[in-house]
Amino acid sequence: MHEKAKDLAQAVIRKEIGRREFLRRTGQLGLGAAASAHVLNMMQTKALAADFDWKKHEGTTVNLLMNKHPYMDAMIANLDNFKELTGMEVKYDVFPEDVYFDKVTAALSSGSTQYDAFMTGAYQTWQYGPAGWLTDLSEFISDPALTNPNYNWDDVLPNLRAATAWSGIPGAPLGGDGAKQWAIPWGFELNSVAYNKRIFDQLSMTPPENMDDMMEKAAQIQADVDGVYGIGVRGSRSWATIHPGFLSAYANFGQTDFTMEDGKLMAAMGTAESKEFHAKWVKMIQDSGPKDWSTYTWYQVGTDLGAGASGMIFDADILGYFMNGGGNAEAGNLAYSAFAANPQADAPTPNVWIWSLGLSQFSSQKEAAWAWMQWASGTEHGLFGARQMDFVNPVRQSVWDDADFQSRIAKSYSGYLEQYKASAPGSKIYFTPQPLFFNLTTEWAASLQKMVAGEVPVDEGLDQLVDSVNRQLRSVGL
């Protein structure tokens, strides 16, 4: 039926014609854009099969534990291709994000053999890895019998590859000596400014350029636009309050969470620079943040931007991306801008969050599960997800270079690509890896809450935090 289209697709795979040309010609054949893309995708999957025994695990069923997320939706949309390619079945258990990690911890800590692979964040691997729940994937990646020749691991952005690899020694650098690849990056977010262009235009304002500028502009929005507050940032009592905008700006001033002194981790939030930055951040929230900041998570920050309740946010770039569509009042009005808090800094230093894929140590069919993992994190699926679904931000350079993806983003997401280009080189994980990450970072957030509520002055609060963090590190022998 689509034989001609299939031939054309082969030509694309042989790189004889471009994708655009392919679409033009299939259009002449009377094939719609979606159907054409489908044919191409199918043929590319077949091409994938050429030099590798994908059918090795035919008939096996892989079990996944997944988070309800657009990445997962994109995977499901393309799953038939995987089934056809491998003859395997894939069963998935999807849990809401609110409870997802608790479910993962519960399943893994009971040694459940129920799940082979699962979604995880990079920070989580700092617990799961030392706990012995994860499989080191470097051996799989480097074994040509297990990994298809087109997998092209080096195509995955180097900072992300490093961020998901760790030796397990507290304080040792990510991706450093003896690092085990605990997970495979799947999709990621870096932190920058997303703003309401309608409001900014109305005030003839340009996006903020540094911390002081951000504070001023947020205050101006707060004062001049009725019913809209200046800037949305997270504030709930959770580690998730620290890792987006806050840590990105903190790192831009050259500050770190820990330093190594005589082989011991020491809390480093007590420096003069850190205190000065904390004071500014706290003042910004008090002056022009959301009134109920201390309950703000990803959802509230995004909802407010999408509904036109906030002028801008300093959070994950893809949060602003998601809010620019769907049933949001301000859809189409949002724009993006990279942000370096420190006027002396050369470039932005966004901390990153990486949704990754982990392979359970308790899985009884690791090789089969790896077959799915390499497909799901491969270039073909990455291109499919980035072009047609919300599988954004891609973790592969080749997907970023894809003209279709770029033109799709450039068309509907004003300034997104520029924001990414400016942010990407400096974006990585700025936390020091150590297994008490969640405990200590949550305490950091709680202490930030006390400062914003005026329960404790900033410098005093930070001194208390440093004492408490150091005490807890010592108590577990770090």
Binding site: F101, Q300, A309, E455
Partner: protein
């Protein structure tokens, strides 16, 4: 002959036969309780498998000098006291208002149970929206009343008030329905006699209604108290124990320790303390309850 021989045995064994299946079903589930006690005496963080070891009561000892622990005790008890007190007073009041058996009262009593039928975790999500300063209807209404800067759960000064309010909204119907059932089950003679004698209604309430209702009140308070001191859903969904440590009650802290910080030993020890508190409280209540029942039946 054989029937006669069986009878005394049956009479002795019957109560055990009747109650044992229930007991066995519960005990089966509670075997892990012992394991949990064992965990509470271990240095046991899942992320430090090498450091695991038996340390007797060190986890408990660590609590004694930990201000966060004493804060948790204080907040948990305060929360329990406030919620149970308000729910009892309000529940009793509403039950008295609905005491008469009219169709309207019957329908209203069921309608008033609606808050109880929404899972607290989901109800809290809705309250969070309704108290949102931008889109929240309650914030809007409170703003109209002149309290424009009321920050609900996000301010340390009003956070406790807000979660207590949600708890009262969710669980008062529980008190109300138990007390209503109790009120309607009371014998009528004392009230009819009192009315004939022209006894003032406040005297009737405090000297007849309340004493006769006490076993019901104790049951309702007992159940509410045990639930309230273990409150998790509402507080976790509304503030995760914040702002700062304002609402860090037992189960929230234990949940964080267990599922986010993977510190199983500390979490188990914390929950053991909670269990001990509830055990003591309920012991006192049950003793009181039995005494009152004895007295009521003896009369």
């Amino acid at each position: 002959m054989s029937a006669a021989a069986k009878r005394p045995f049956m009479r002795l064994a019957l109560p055990y036969i009747l109650s044992l299946p229930a007991l066995l079903v519960c005990i089966g589930i509670l075997i892990p309780f012992g394991t949990a006690v064992y965990y509470s005496m271990q240095r046991y963080n899942l992320a430090f498998p090498m450091g695991r070891g038996f340390i007797w009561f060190e986890n408990y000892q660590a609590f004694l000098t930990d201000p966060a622990f004493w804060n948790t005790i204080r907040v948990s008890l305060l929360y329990t006291f406030l919620t149970v007190t308000f729910e009892l007073l309000l529940g009793l009041g509403v039950a008295l208002l609905l005491q008469r058996r009219t169709l309207m009262n019957n329908v209203l009593s069921i309608m008033l149970m609606l808050p109880l039928m929404i899972a607290p975790a989901i109800a809290a999500l809705m309250w969070k929206l309704m108290t949102n300063p931008n889109f929240g209807i309650l914030s809007y209404l409170v703003g109209l009343a002149g309290l424009e800067d009321f920050k609900w759960a996000s301010d340390p000064g009003t956070a406790l008030f807000t979660v207590v309010l949600v708890d009262v909204w969710v669980y008062t119907p529980f008190m109300m329905i138990l007390l209503l059932a109790g009120l309607r089950a009371l014998p009528r003679q004392p009230f009819e006699a009192a009315e004939l004698d022209g006894v003032p209604s406040s005297f009737v309430f405090f000297r007849i209604t309340l004493p006769m209702l006490t076993p019901y009140i104790l049951t309702a308070v007992l159940f509410r108290m045990l639930e309230s001191i273990q409150q998790f859903d509402i507080i976790y969904a509304m503030t995760q124990g914040g702002p700062g440590d304002t609402l860090m009650v037992f189960q929230v802290q234990a949940y964080l320790e267990r599922y986010q910080y993977t510190n199983v030993g500390r979490s188990a020890a914390l929950l053991m303390v909670l269990w001990a508190i509830t055990f003591i409280l309920s012991n006192i209540f049950v003793k009181q309850w039995l005494r009152l029942r004895e007295r009521a039946r003896g009369v």
